[in-house]
Symmetry: C4
Subunit: 230 residues, 4 copies
């Protein structure tokens, strides 16, 4: 039976509030599905990786995976909503990924709608093998056309490699500089760490993960064993 104060409650759960909840729920479902997909391929083993979707730009709000979760077993109630300006949790009980600052930096530099970070064996191996050159050229593959804006296999993609760092503010600063230096790159590697990529939407970012992971494996299997410095 409706309460006499139902009107008041209905005012509190305003149309905008319902819309925000709908947007969050869709983002959370998408992040869980991406987690299952990447887990099946072994790209987020041992609770590694973190994913985010932009919920609103002003103020900047992101749905982001919390730290320490197996990404193949995510549930929507484990996804956090964070304030991208303050870096604080707006909704949800977990701890946001330590790498939240990188997600926010990428969203700002690229106007991205989703940011995905995975840890695959091949990205780890190649991030070390090409660390000396501070990046990796990938060119001539049809698969490059899966990267937004690329319309021919006859494309030269530069995948920058940054040294790993536990100081996230410093690393976010370096990420920002690399993104400005390479305005057309679609991702980057952190050395002996993994891949960051992004997209206008979550499906586009998922596609970029799969394209780049495929290309890294193809390059890795072609050149085979690489020399490991020191």
């Amino acid at each position: 039976m409706p309460s006499p104060r139902a009107g008041t409650r209905s005012t509190r759960t305003s149309r905008a509030g319902l819309e925000r909840r709908r947007v969050f729920a869709a983002a959370a479902r998408g992040l869980c599905a991406a987690g299952r997909r990447f887990d099946a391929r072994g790209w987020v083993l041992g609770t590694s990786g973190n994913f985010s979707v932009v919920l609103s730009r002003r103020p900047l709000r992101l749905a982001i995976t919390s730290s320490g979760e197996f990404k193949g077993e995510l549930t929507a109630d484990r996804i956090l909503e964070i304030d991208g300006d303050a870096g604080s949790v707006v909704k949800g009980g977990g701890r946001p990924s330590a790498e939240t600052a990188l997600h926010v930096e990428i969203v700002r530099e690229r106007d991205a709608g989703a940011v995905l970070h995975t840890h695959s064996v091949w990205s780890t191996v190649l991030s070390e093998a090409h660390a000396g050159e501070r990046g990796l050229v990938i060119e001539g593959f049809e698969m490059l056309k899966g990267l937004e804006g690329v319309t021919t296999h006859d494309h030269r993609e530069w995948l920058p490699i940054l040294d790993n760092d536990q100081d996230m503010d410093r690393l976010a600063g370096r990420v920002g500089r690399v993104l400005r230096e390479h305005p057309s790159c679609h991702g980057f590697l952190l050395r002996r760490h993994g891949l960051y990529t992004w997209g206008d939407t979550l499906p586009q970012a998922v596609r970029h993960v799969e394209i780049l992971e495929f290309l890294l494996e193809a390059v890795g299997r072609t050149f085979g064993r690489t020399s490991w410095p020191s």
Copy 2:
């Protein structure tokens, strides 16, 4: 309650129309199942690959995957029906694959009932390693008997490799010439791109994908790291 014009409608949905819908639905279900199968093996990452089934020969109609879909998450309503002569969409809302012209060319040259195109790491690696010879010999494997018409492992299969091209009419012309030059080949590679194969039926074409991908991996793992030109 039946409308007074039900008889008219029933005439419009004629027996032939029902049969066409049944044929399309079966083809679409088969293409979705093939997509899930190949996705699980990592052969259609990042929305790559495209698949088609012939619905009728005169006029030439194909059920074909639309562009930009994750092949492991296809649903029947995302499959297009296209006019093979005009290259236009007859039914369905998406954009047909850019490579539709290659499917039509193969259907005509080989009288194929289904055409499948996958992007695996091993086909990509070997398409480059053997590009200089414009093809690859695969011989002596029992698995070759999975290719239609091959009855002994003591068979020499020539898998042609064509340079990749974004001009689909020009590439379709080259595909046609290669198929006429090698009338008994069961597939071909596009350089740094992937595998095309086909069959009288969709299950036969699926079998050909699996057989050729298996053989390419076996060859790739045997010879190991190959030298990469330039």
Copy 3:
């Protein structure tokens, strides 16, 4: 309502007949489950592989997979019952595997209750790399203890390699001789073809497939690229 001739029917479906059907149904279910398991690992691609379970010894009856089926999509009604002495189909509509004679030979030589044949990339690669020695030593691995009767890792398993042959009677004769020469071997490879192994029961044979495939991959990854004759 029971027919007046129910007694007669009940006599026809005798207790022994019911038991035979139960045994067949259990064997068929087990073969379907093994097919899904091996398909997920890529060991029966392209409808390759074939599996059998002994239903009775006198007369010799086997449940066996029919030819041309995707082993990951087997259903119980696609499993055949064959007469092992005559080599003929007793029940079921398909065509028995061309390699049925090898299954019968192994059942007789080893008193096996189940025979499994898989086509993996690593067994194919190693069957060629070690063809000159007509076999492969696998020793010192804990996993060897998964082979029936082996109680220590300090075991030397000889895995014979036979040349492939399309004459099944001749090949069955050679299989018989190799099994008698190597009475303690748990499997063998056919060159550029695949693995045969067996067990007292189907679960034991499944275990033997997994153990031997694991060991072949471990050996293959250790020694890496092998030289390929000619």
Copy 4:
């Protein structure tokens, strides 16, 4: 209808007894889930591997997988409860793993809440390649942060390698000595056998398996083919 002695029975199934059953059931469910997870990755092929969870410390009780089970098909009723002091089965019909003594040794030395043992191809290959040095250094990888207590990629993890042994008491003694010599190690390899790791909880131990297996594969693919002694 309740028996007149229902009260007595209800006393026997005391609150503590219910709690013990709840704890056991949760442990068993977790072990089954871990089995499915590792089976999907090919780390427990052929019934290899064994897993345990501590149920109580005084007296020491463990839930442990029984011998000879496919770890991807475990059911809770196949999990045993054992007395860690006596090494005897308290509940359940199977045979405890031969390696139970190693689990108990690790629980005691590390105060672990869960112990997991897997057999992967890469751990097997590297356990042999580095046997001469009696261990393996893994350093500089972000993934190392997934190991409990490690807070930076700039960490040097020593993964000891012990010779394999079928005398479990002797091997347990050697395991104890290695754990005391390397008080900060998170796991060890048995030569040509597999990985042991542990955690305060089962999810932590699962995370350690995934982290270490990932790192071993990354190291293995980097250095490629290794020389095999003898």
